[in-house]
Symmetry: C2
Subunit: 235 residues, 2 copies
């Protein structure tokens, strides 16, 4: 059920739309890299890498503003209709979520500026596992966006439930640790925030999956149950 | 420096744009009410009211989807340019933030389902104070949106720094409490989440303020320092 976007582009779509789509993919690649670097920095307690992530966030912000302007220009100049307009709307929403994922990566990187004892390191390893899962979700949803593949998008959409369960389990584990070592609370609270950031990144990947489905199927599936979406994709 | 939107509407703007603007204000009013009810529910430990807030969130979601469709329809049918297009873009972004504020209100309401001892009640009172401050910010930014008043919008934009300081102070206070009574951690952690939710609502009000400024001034001021914005508003 992969949407044949290339045929579409070479037909009615103009070069401007192809360009803006490529810019979204570059922005997505940068955000993915920011997230992976943030996770590496935390796992290896690498303060230099963490600062690089924090400093790199401005590039993500600048890309969002510039792509947003591109979208507005295209709407004003080309007055797109039907699926062309849906693509521009999907792009405008996608970059807003990507920018927020960049913000979360910056927040996660901050944890690398602390140092942790051995027991706390165990928590870090678990957070890293959850982080890699979320990073894969981001990778997969960008891939679904690149190919405008609804089935791949729906697979990411369902993946978020797993991330939510992981989030619950990890938060409980960190709270247990806090109860056993209350003096560690101010430091360990930063781990709680990272886990929350990862959970939010999962939500945002789910949003992007919804925009892909909206573009291809022409239907807004936000706030619709997954069973209903599945039935609709089958039909 | 109040933007004369009414003149604009009676001139070039069509009835559809006036309608969609009114729908945003209704949605804003509902979200404000959801937030205030959530705060009332928490302060008075009122589980019934909390459930009402949780059940009421679907209305906020439905309004977002419907206004979003209205915006896409207007772009496709009317092919707005310049400030008309900026208004539609500002509206589409505003309702996305309002929807997320609704989600945060729903999360805050959950706290009312727990019961708290006297010491914890003191924390609740402080959270309520921060909540009322944030609720006023939401009220003020909706007011700035209704009048498309850049100065009022900029005042809200600056207000967010106070909310951030309040957030830092309250989080520290709650962590201190956790350290003194570690067994309370799982319950008190829900208070940490509410304070975080309030901080995020402040951020979203700041976003909406930026859309108002974007509409009136035609400039995207996201990721621009407040000093630079101020210089620009003066000029």
């Amino acid at each position: 059920m992969e949407h044949n976007i290339h045929k579409h582009i070479s037909g009615n779509f103009n070069q401007e739309l192809e360009n803006v789509r490529n810019h979204v993919l570059s922005m997505g690649g940068l955000v993915e890299q920011q997230l992976n670097s943030a996770l590496d920095a935390v796992l290896n307690n690498d303060a230099d890498l963490a600062r690089k992530v924090q400093e790199g966030d401005f590039k993500v912000n600048a890309m969002e503003v510039s792509i947003d302007e591109e979208c507005t220009r295209i709407i004003a100049k080309r007055q797109p209709a039907a699926s062309d307009l849906r693509l521009v709307v999907a792009i405008a929403k996608t970059i807003a979520d990507l920018e927020r994922i960049g913000d979360e990566a910056r927040r996660i990187a901050k944890v690398a500026l602390d140092s942790f004892n051995n027991e706390q390191q165990d928590l870090l390893v678990n957070i890293d596992n959850m982080g890699r899962q979320v990073s894969k979700m981001l990778h997969d949803v960008l891939d679904a966006f690149a190919r405008m593949d609804v089935n791949a998008a729906f697979a990411v959409h369902k993946e978020d439930a797993k991330v939510d369960r992981e989030y619950e389990a990890l938060t409980r584990q960190i709270m247990t640790y806090m109860m056993e070592d209350p003096r560690s609370i101010p430091k360990v609270m930063n781990l709680v925030w990272s886990v929350r950031s990862l959970e939010r990144i999962g939500d945002r990947c789910q949003n992007i999956a919804e925009y892909v489905i909206y573009f291809v199927k022409g239907k807004d599936i936000r706030h619709v149950s997954q069973d209903d979406i599945e039935r609709d994709l089958m039909s």
